[in-house]
Amino acid sequence: MTLKEAVELAKKGRAYAQRTKFKEAMAYYNKALSLDPKYAEGWYLRASVLIDTGKPDEAIVDCERALALNHNYADAWSKKALALFNLERYEDAVLAATRASTLNGNDAMAWYLKGVCLDELGKSDEAQEAYGKSLELEIIMDMDAERKKVGRT
């Protein structure tokens, strides 16, 4: 079994996850990971579903597996930050979000999470800075989405 097949299975899982069919998505991710446990993106994708289904503890375990395979995996850091936020572990979440936004400066969600957690920790000024960065990125994404929409019509 090659990684390619695992990627294909994960792709199917992702399609289900996008339609909020988490049970089916989970089944595909599990299959992909049993075929290739070294597939970092598979762990990351499974962590996303675990968060969406209210299991942040388990999501953290999956994120750590992904990060053990690729320590510079920005999306996995971002997802870990989200799971930590959901567990109200704000200080740890700030660290993970900072790591994510350092690896990928264009991750609006990581900047936003950092802002939200700093706010929770009462660090309002630092939070505003992170919010500002997140907003800039979101606006750029929004303008791109609008452009694509215009292009489609």
Binding site: Y112, E138, D142
Partner: protein, 339 residues
């Protein structure tokens, strides 16, 4: 409210507060093709199986843009809910007779315009336009006065998302300004002007309400650079004063005066009780009535419960047909409107 989405502290608080005050639930839904301004599907407007309201927003809104949409729709929900609980929540609807009155007036105005035109509009197009314009104004009047009020309320209650709000307001303003442009040569001048004037008044009111200093982070975005060193007020007014739409400005200034007269007396920072939101609802109704009077559309619409409007939408084909029959009699063939 149960969500795995991260939400900033003030928004989480506002959501919880809204649910508690209205004794209802709010669910958040991210959708790729959602409207840029988001959508509120609420229990006061639609018949829902469960006491759950849904706020839908575009998938690319992951942070503060999402927060603003939530704040805006929660405010709208509070206004509707307060009216429903403490009085009677009503919207502008229409009936068979009111459609006939509206269409007749639009037709007379269109005839006056057509008489002056070199390129006359084909009669069937002109007739088709009547009901489209009628419903267009119904939509705008059900949205625009509330939009100004809701934005002002969010601005005062949610200082942390003001920068986001400015981006939204400007984007909305641009989209609204583009509305009807392609039909400018078809739509009777009076209605084109009134439509633009309504948006002008809304923009000017918001330009006064939302000061410019909050805008700075937005200026870091290359696409927004051209607005550098301008005040929001200037940004929202320049495009009006530099266009040929002088009439829109004249009408718009009058409408702004109306908006000001109603909204200037609001204590935006009053404790957010149901009574406060009921007061906003009443002001919104009065403001809408005043705008309708100003536009001489007084007998076009009726205040009714939301289900009346939903029913009217379902029967609009029939209403249109009957109204046209009243205006044109047998000149209009039986097959008019059938595909």
């Amino acid at each position: 409210m149960k969500t795995e989405m991260p939400l900033s502290k003030p928004i989480r608080r506002f959501l919880n507060q809204t649910e508690e005050m209205l004794d209802t639930e709010i669910s958040l839904l991210r959708q790729p093709d959602a409207e840029p301004g988001g959508t509120l599907v609420d229990v006061y407007t639609y018949e829902m199986e469960k006491n759950v309201n849904v706020i839908i927003f575009p998938a690319q809104y992951v942070g503060l843009l999402k927060d603003f949409i939530i704040a805006k729709h929660c405010t709208s929900l509070l206004i509707k809910g307060a009216a429903h609980k403490k009085a009677k929540y009503q919207v502008l609807s229409y009936t068979e007779d009111s459609v006939a009155r509206g269409l007749r007036q639009i037709y007379y105005d269109a005839l006056k315009d057509e008489a002056k035109k070199q390129d006359k509009l084909p009669v069937n197009k002109l007739i088709q336009m009547l009901f489209i314009l009628f419903t267009h104004f119904n939509d705008d009047l059900n949205e625009l006065p509330w939009n100004a009020m809701i934005n002002a309320s969010v601005y005062h209650r949610m200082p942390k998302i003001r920068k986001t709000q400015l981006y939204h307001v400007m984007k909305e303003s641009k989209n609204d300004m583009d509305e009807m442009i392609e039909q400018e040569h078809i739509v009777p001048r009076r209605y084109f002007v009134l439509n633009k004037a309504m948006f002008y008044a809304r923009d000017m009111f918001l330009a006064k309400t939302l000061p410019a200093d909050e805008l700075m982070p937005v200026l870091n975005i290359p696409q927004m650079k051209k607005f550098n060193h301008l005040e929001v007020k200037e940004m929202l007014t320049t495009r009006w004063t530099h266009t040929a739409w002088y009439q829109s400005k004249v009408f718009g200034d009058n409408m702004l005066e109306i908006v000001d007269r109603h909204l200037d007396k609001v204590e935006w920072n009053e404790p957010p009780t149901l009574d406060h939101y009921l007061e906003l609802y009443k002001l919104g109704v009065n403001l809408t009535n005043h705008l309708i009077s100003f536009m001489t559309m007084k007998d076009w619409y009726v205040w009714e419960e939301p289900k009346h409007l939903l029913q009217a939408h379902q029967e609009k084909g029939e209403y249109e047909k009957k109204a046209l029959k009243k205006i044109f009699g047998d000149l209009l063939g039986e097959s008019w409107g059938e595909k």
